[in-house]
Symmetry: C2
């Protein structure tokens, strides 16, 4: 009997790594999805910590922040490091993947067209190739993983949001990066993850 409740929008984006990790570990949870563009979100938003989703509820307590939640769930399903230094290595690459996401998101969500245009070239010409080339090197050195030469929650963190990143820039970012594709394949081929990926709601992001 689980009393874990994960609440997010009906997209993969910042919550999918959490969902995949719970599925990986066979942990039951309620996958609550609320409508981003309906009347529900404006009603719910003011009651969320810092007005954001995802949130995770367990034993009547509420927590927020997607990276923190992903780390918490990773501990439950034992996809963390074996010591503090290993966990530091995982945390560092996860925060770096998150920096990359934030750069893409600040372009994608920008409403001021002048600002958006100014962000475009530095993002597409500099930041994106810079990060992707470094990520590719790291995935190569770690044999299809992001850290420690083995499966950890860093891989789930990337794989959970890799389609969301593509959707924001409307392209396949990883096309020329075989080792990043290998990270995705490595996670997607784990039986309980594979079952989840085939059964989950179909969403673009």
């Amino acid at each position: 009997m689980s009393d874990i409740k994960l609440t997010y929008f009906s997209v993969k984006a910042l919550a999918e790594a959490i969902r995949m990790l719970l599925k990986y570990g066979g942990v039951d949870f309620a996958d609550i999805r609320i409508e981003r563009f309906g009347t529900e979100w404006p009603e719910v938003k003011p009651n969320m910590p810092f007005g954001q989703l995802p949130i995770l509820e367990e034993n009547g307590k509420v927590a927020h922040q997607s990276v923190a939640l992903t780390r918490y769930v990773a501990k439950k399903v034992k996809l963390i490091g074996n010591d503090d230094w290993e966990n530091l290595e995982i945390d560092a690459i996860v925060d770096t993947i998150n920096d990359f996401r934030a750069k893409i998101a600040s372009y994608y969500y920008e409403k001021n067209e002048i600002v958006k245009e100014a962000l475009k070239e530095p993002l597409f010409q500099q930041a994106i190739p810079y990060y992707l080339e470094k990520f590719e090197q790291i995935a190569k050195q770690n044999n299809g993983h992001f850290a420690l030469n083995r499966l950890t929650w860093a891989d789930f963190y990337f794989v959970g949001m890799h389609e969301y990143l593509n959707s924001m820039v409307d392209t396949n970012l990883y096309e020329n990066y075989p080792n990043l594709n290998k990270v995705v394949e490595n996670v997607f081929s784990i039986p309980p993850v594979k079952i989840w990926v085939e059964a989950r709601p179909v969403t673009v992001a």
Copy 2:
């Protein structure tokens, strides 16, 4: 005999929480400071993981990402939670403080004057008061702390960068927030931290 080396610019900003935590725990470390605007940084930058500082070296290994490094050092000096949920609470507020920093930084470091002007009102009229009021509530509920009603590395994370945040917006952000000032006082009054704060290099940020 310590072989911990922390390398950063000669400012508090993203490394000061790490320095203060090491001082708090009586852990020896080399406080390496490189010149941001001299010839040194352009030479060093390409060899840094993802071109950024701070980095921390220990036993010949190198790690990066300031939040990850702060968490790692907090484990050494035992200013973490007592269980996974407590650590989740700390991680969530630290990432939220970091979101606040990122919003201020994206305004401060913006070089395009048109973009900068467009960022100004949403930052000063919306984001800054929104975050500070929530932080003040949290600090009040936790009796002068950011989490768990007691001293944790979340307090160090905020206190380490509070002057840097002020310097970016050229004002005292916390003037009307007595409980945020209490967080600062609580950390600064710890004897080894007090000694460090009086002895450390004087910098604005």
